[in-house]
Assembly symmetry: C2
Homo-oligomer: 348 residues x 2
DNA sequence: CGTTAGCACTCGATGCCTATGACTGCTAAT
DNA sequence: ATTAGCAGTCATAGGCATCGAGTGCTAACG
């Protein structure tokens, strides 16, 4: 293997350049300061002098993988550099067995409740990757009715509670056009329960012939609740680790910190991931594509759950200077764990 | 009324001192820079010269109501100064009618769902006070059973869903010691539903004679869910406005910002308020008492709901340099609104 | 031709100095 | 009791020299 021979399908980078790029990325990720040729040489055993490294770095800069903050500073990876690192140089990202066990153990110890698991998942992601973590609740695709309850409150207000197959519960209040007592409400509920058991809202509507006005209202509400629509439960998001990630030096600057906090509070970017299949981990570096504001942030996200049945999203949000290996490994492992849980619990 | 005659029961401060203290607090709150004697004089029509104001300020400083960041700077209120301001000088804190209407209007426009109202309450608080807002879900004291559902999933796991009077829903998974099919589960659920309707968990246990092992497990879980215990739904907290409040100049310093973000993510201070009755607004300045870390933060919090039945907490968290008048007025108004909602919906 | 030693150069960071000016605190006069 | 006047204080900002990490270039080397 000669020096300028390239691996895989990367005609433009020599092996040595790859090695140097990888080392720069790794060093910068762990030290947070621009890395110079000399420092790189001292910490790692490359067979060459600092001058050679400087030359290679200059080439890597010309190719767009590295930059300089200013003339007399060391090199810093560009987004393209990180991207190359993630795609080709990162190697094995699987979590060590010991950590996998630890995580699995924590899940087994938690109380048997979805919300606890999601909170736990967020905590694990945050601590393991040292970044902000987000987990959304799994969303059932075609929820089938399990049980419906109509509860009268005062002032012509009725509380509707629906339990769907798999245990999703939704509730909503409903105003009555004319008063009804609890007995009448229970009767309607019983009727819908018997007709609609294990049906989705559309089938239920088709099957319920000649509904009263009130029954029609209830059905409309059911449709609305199951279609999802715009009321995607933005609150059903579990978060952790914001404090820790704000410690990172890149968030000294006011603007960067704000962009991060904003994204964390309004994680619209999680919708990005809906297009990808369950099980694949997506890496967005420096707010590629849209997400201009997140220029100094990266995210590693994945969907979890059972495709076509119930899926959610989870991931981490941190500086571009993120430990991508750990992040990808942890996100993948936790997503797989959560998928198993969903498959155990929701699919019956 | 002579100049050194005091109002109410404040023997130590003359009227003029009160006026000056009030002006200093107000000016500092709106400008965020230490206020000097001259600036104070120019903006307000006091009948005296700057030298007199300086003398009075020196007295106020000696009494502990004001400080100096350094010799050549203007005055800044101390926590004691803010406290005095809030207790005695603040005057009318009721929101103007127009704002009340606007807020009420927004509540009427929202979808009829408790979670939406809480999110809305947080949003209104955050925007109106320009600080971070927190709202916790109302917690029912002695929840009575409305409906219980047992749903079999694979792998000897049962999902238990309970609907309580008033619409609170809790769910939890339960492991079976030996397999049971859905029919058997439904039978148990039906039995508990018929016996326990409108009972609290303790009464239900008393009434259910000779329970099977599985029934006992279900009852234990019910007790655990209703006693609240340590699993106070820390996730059932609605938040808003963190981004905005982080813009305030006091959070330029890393440490202060972190303390705030921490408190916002883990709002243990909301437990502080459980001792106070519904309807009273509590003001904690500069992390008085415990909350040492929150030395540059203040909070204005209140409980809402129906005493002894279902109550939650809400409030705002911001810099000590907080518009206390608006904060108290808004928190009170929103808390009252939420109390009305709870009373309409939960009490039947 | 790739590699290397050596060296001039760049530029942020640091420290020191000197205004500048906003305020105070004091004193003496009113 | 109040006020005008003034000396004194101290954070802030700008100017300037120093330092040093790190680069880019050139010439020499194998």
């Amino acid at each position: 293997m000669t020096a300028n021979q390239s691996v895989i399908t990367t005609p433009e980078l020599t092996l040595r350049q790859q090695k140097i790029l990888g080392l720069v990325v790794k060093t910068y990720i762990s030290t947070a300061t621009p890395v110079g040729s000399k420092a790189l040489l001292e910490a790692n055993d490359l067979g060459v002098s600092s001058a050679t490294i400087r030359n290679e770095m200059a080439v890597l800069e010309e190719l767009g993988y590295l930059t300089h903050p200013h003339t007399s500073a060391g090199r810093v990876p560009t987004d393209k550099g990180y991207r190359y690192f993630v795609e080709r140089l990162i190697g094995d990202v699987e979590l060590p067995q010991a950590e996998q066990n630890m995580i699995r153990h924590q899940f087994h110890q938690a109380k048997l409740e979805m919300s606890q698991w999601m909170q736990l998942a967020a905590a694990i992601l945050a601590r393991s990757v040292r970044s902000a973590a987000l987990v959304t609740a799994p969303k059932v695709e075609q929820p089938r009715l399990r049980h419906l309850e109509l509860i009268s409150t005062q002032s012509q207000l009725v509380l509707l509670i629906v339990v769907f197959q798999g245990g999703t519960v939704r509730q909503r209040y409903l105003t009555l056009k004319e008063p009804m007592d609890q007995a009448a409400l229970s009767q309607v509920a019983a009727k819908i329960n018997s007709i609609g058991y294990e049906l989705d809202a559309a089938s239920l509507r088709a099957k319920l012939t000649d509904p009263t006005d009130f029954e029609r209202d209830v059905l409309d509400l059911l449709m609305e609740l199951t279609s999802g629509g715009d009321d995607v439960p933005i609150n059903e998001v579990y978060r952790d680790g914001l404090t820790e990630v704000l410690q990172e030096p890149e968030f000294n600057k006011r603007g960067e910190a704000n962009a991060l906090v904003n994204a964390f509070e309004q994680p619209t970017f999680l919708n990005e991931v809906v297009s990808s299949p369950v099980g694949t981990v997506q890496v967005v570096i420096g707010g590629e594509g849209r997400w201009r504001e997140l220029s100094s942030c990266s995210m590693v996200i994945a969907r979890y759950g059972v495709e076509g049945f119930a899926t959610g999203a989870l991931g981490v949000l941190g500086p571009t200077r993120m430990p991508y290996g750990r992040a990808i490994g942890t996100v993948r492992y936790v997503a797989d764990l959560m998928s198993d849980l969903v498959s155990d619990l929701y699919v019956d």
